[in-house]
Structures are given as structure tokens and as C-alpha cells.
Amino acid sequence: MTLWLMAGLLFTPLAWAVLTLLTDFRWGRLVTWAGILVQILVSLGLWLTVAEGGGFYYGLGGWDAPLGIELRVDGLAVTFVLLTAVVASACGWHAGVYIDPEKPWHRYFWPLFWFLWAGLNAVWLGGDLFNLYVGLELISLSAVGLVALGGKAGALRASIRYLLAALLGSLAYLLGVALIYGQFGTLSIAGVSFWLAEHPTPTGSGLALALMVAGLALKTALFPLHQWLPPAHGIAKSPVSALLSALVVKASFYVAARLWLEFGESIGNLAVAQLLGLLGSGAVVWGSWLACRQQQLKQVVAYSSVAQIGYLFLLFPLTFSVSEAVSLQAQQGITLQVISHALAKAAMFLAAGNLILSVGSNRVDALAGVSRFLPFSLFSFSLAGVSLMSLPPTGGFAAKWLLLQASLGSGQWWWVGVLLAGGLLSATYVFRIFRASLRENPETDQFYHPARSLEVIPMILALLALGLGLMSDQVLTVMALPFEEEGAP
């Protein structure tokens, strides 16, 4: 059973990528919708398996680490697999209606979409440093291809910049991997951390971890390395922007977090942890400030991603040399932040796409009057905004609450200010959009009405983000499930 679930997760996206490569857009859409169904069932199945039996290691090809590639299937990984299934399905469904099927080059959307999904699943489950590198490259290249798909010079400029940043980040990560392999002779994360737990830290490994985290921070668009993100996320088609903001940047962060939690305690040091936290805080303030000043709707949402990503980097100081309980609280808070931001931001980008489609302009001031014509999409947008502002009972609130407790519990009270300021600033940019759209504009009454399903999808995602706060306990129990003992190396 487990075998087939793993196969479904790792190989059906790849198989569907090949299938949709052979079809045109309309057939690709039908094939994709069938594939989405398979993926949701498989992800749910694996989630249930882990929720009942605990996590395990899975050696691909019958070879265990260190010779082969081992996958790490634990509570956190399956939570993200399920999150990916939800968000990517919504984006795939939305894209099938949103994207114009007449343009011949749009048929390449589907294979790229499926390759992206395959890469995401590979990264969530990856337990091998080099395999993670290949997975990250799979994600980056398909994301770049999606941004550039059928674009003009502006989109190409954004995608080239995105590609160069992603490649630089990958190379820094790969150099770190080379150093780790030279030092430990293995690529398995579990193998290295097992050895580190029993031996004194060897000299020379600090730079390896620093290089890997720096490269991944660049790929995650941590302030001040964020300049590539807003143009790419702002100019891509809305379903693509939603995928990029909700899932793609999380993949590189997830790898960095995994490395930090496994190696950080022995290889890392306090200065690096505090520096990362500080840069994250800088991202929260600077990203929100820039979001308030953007003239274009999707740029506002993209800069808001820069700000929300900043919170994630509070993980590094809040888990370094603190008590077990505080560290667990911080990890749970960050996980909730990842999930709620993924749901809310996907909802926001999809709703923004509907608004843009309706008024025929990307500018914020062009939204005047849209509240009368498209109240449903505007409502989804603002519900997602409520989660970003982290008001109760949203998932954003539950996340910030846990982070607040972790900051106080570890004595690092200075992060509390960041958490509060971030909430206020995000309220500012959400209300700015709201004010622009509630204004009446008697001159224009030419509005295009998007299809009903386009409006329903962001609403579902926004409601999920809202409800996450209420069911956070269930999510967190699966996430923190222990490993089966015999499976550990």
C-alpha cells in the first residue's frame, strides 16, 4: 500500500507531465483534472497512513542510505504534501478556466505545471542533500518557464532575473553540499545528523551550512535578497503567481529549515541565528512598507509575500539553544504560518486575477467601482487579507500567537515588536486596496464578469485559511508525530 502511495506522489506528476506534453490545451485540461483527483486521493492516503502509523524512511530503488536515496516521510512532510495538493489543485482548476486556450503556446502550461508539482513533492519528502538540489532545480526551471510563458519583454526580463537568482542560490547550496560530502562522506541528512549527535563538531563545516542557508535564503527571497521576487510574481499570470507565492518560495525555505533543525544545534551559532531573525524582521517591515506604496495591484500582493516570508525566518533564532518546549512551539508556529500564508496568498492572487480581468487594468486606482460588480471576489480578497493581518480566528492568528509565546518563552522579547508591527502594516495595505475598490466611479460601468468557478476557487482557499485557526490542533498533532523506531538509520 505504502509503495503505491509513494508511487502516486512521486511518479504520477511526472507521468502527467509527459501526457499533457502530447495534448493540446483543452485535452490537457481534462487530463490534468483527472490527475488532480489522483493526487488529492494519494496525498490524503499518505497523510492518513502517517497519522495512524507514524513517519518512516523509504529507500528508493531498494537501496538504503548512504548508497541510495532515502525519502523521509514524516508528519511535517505529509502535511506539506497535502497542502500542495490543495493549493495546486485550486490553481490548476483556476488556470483551466482562466488561461486562454486559443493561444497555441499555452499548451505548454500543463507539462510545466506538473513538473513543478513533481519537484515540490520531491522536495517535501527528500532526505538526501543532492536529491534536494535536483528537486529545487526542477522547481526553479519550471517556475521560470511558467513566468516566461508567452510573455513580453517585461515578463522575460523578470524571468531572466528570477532564473539568475535561482541559479546563484542553487550553486551556493551545491557548494555547501560538496563540502558536507567531503567532510562526512555521505549525502543523507539523517546520516550526517546522526554522526553529529555523537561526535564533536568538526572544523570547517560551519561554512558549508552557511553557504547552503545563504543560497536557500536567496531562493526564498529573504530581505535584502528579495528584488527578484516582486517583478516575477507580479507579472506572471494569476494562477502562476499564486503557485509561486504559495508553494515555490516555501520549498527552499523548507529545505533551509530542515537543515537548520538537524545541523543547527551543533554547527550553527547564535550570531547567524540572530542575523537571520533580524533580516526576517527587516523583510516584514520593508516589504509591508513597499506594499503600501505600489501602484499595481499584483505588485502589492507580491511585496506582501516578501513581508510574510520574513516571519518564517524567525524560526532560526527561536529554535537555537532554547528549551525543547519553546523550540517545538516555534516550529509549530512557523508551520502554521507557512500553511496559512500559502492558502491566503493563493486566494489573494487568484482573486486579484479576477479583479484585474474584470476592470481590465492592473492599477490599484482603476479598481474604483469594482465592489458593485464583483463583490464576491473582493470578499475573497479581503478574507485572505484578514488572515494576513492575523486577526482571530484565522490561521495567521494561531501562527503569530504561537510565535509570540515562543519569543517570550525564550526571552527573546524583541521579536514581539516585529510580530505586532507586521500585523498593523499588513492591515494598511489590505485596507488601501479596499478603499480603492469601494470608491464609486460613475464614468465607467463597463465591467467584464469572470466565470462563476473563477470566483468560487479563491473563496474556498480563503475560507480554508480562515478555518485553519479553528482546526490548528489536528494539523499540529499530525505534524509532530514521532518516527517509527526501526526505520531510523
Partner: protein, 106 residues
């Protein structure tokens, strides 16, 4: 100093030089070449470093082969994107204003 160590130190030099090029040069093709120099540096470190004691190690050699294919794919994609970008905008840099306009397109 053994030969494998020399390889990895040469790799470190290439990485530093490539990084400088990637950050400082503005022409996109030059940036791409700098990226490839960096990549070669990483691959040299990857193959050279594990050889410092036990002789040749086939695992990093296989990893580097994979890495080279990935680098080629990325480079080729970047070249296609850069060509299309040049075709549409006539620019060879990422600046917002066209200041590096070069002759007719070829």
C-alpha cells in the same frame, strides 16, 4: 599539497571569480558565462575534495555528471530567454532603460 587538494582549491578560485563576474558584469551573456565558471568551480570542489584520501570516488563523479546536465539545461534555457528578450526589447542587460543597444539583431 596533494593533487586533489589543488583541484578543490582551484575550484574555490573559480567560484570566487565567477561570483564576482555574476555580480559585477551587466551583459546577460557574460553573467551566464560567469555562472558557468562558478558551476565548474563547484564541480571541481565536489570531485576533488572527497579524493584527498581514498583515491577516486565514483559517487561524486556521478553527482557531477547530473549537475552538469542540470547546468546545461539551465544555461540553454537562459540563452533562449535572453535571445527572445533581445529580440523583443533590443537590450542585453536587465536595466530598465536601453543603454546597451547593439547594432542589428543577428
Amino acid at each position: 599539497m596533494s593533487a586533489p587538494l589543488l583541484y578543490s582549491l582551484a575550484g574555490a578560485v573559480l567560484f570566487g571569480a565567477g561570483l564576482f563576474g555574476l555580480l559585477r558584469l551587466s551583459h546577460l551573456l557574460r553573467k551566464l558565462l560567469a555562472f558557468n565558471i562558478m558551476g565548474s568551480g563547484v564541480f571541481l570542489v565536489m570531485v576533488g575534495l572527497p579524493q584527498h584520501q581514498g583515491g577516486p570516488d565514483p559517487v561524486p563523479q556521478a553527482l557531477v555528471l547530473t549537475g552538469i546536465v542540470v547546468a546545461i539545461a539551465a544555461t540553454a534555457l537562459a540563452v533562449v530567454l535572453i535571445r527572445r528578450y533581445y529580440h523583443l526589447s533590443g537590450m542585453t542587460t536587465l536595466d530598465e532603460v536601453p543603454d546597451h543597444r547593439e547594432g542589428d539583431q543577428g
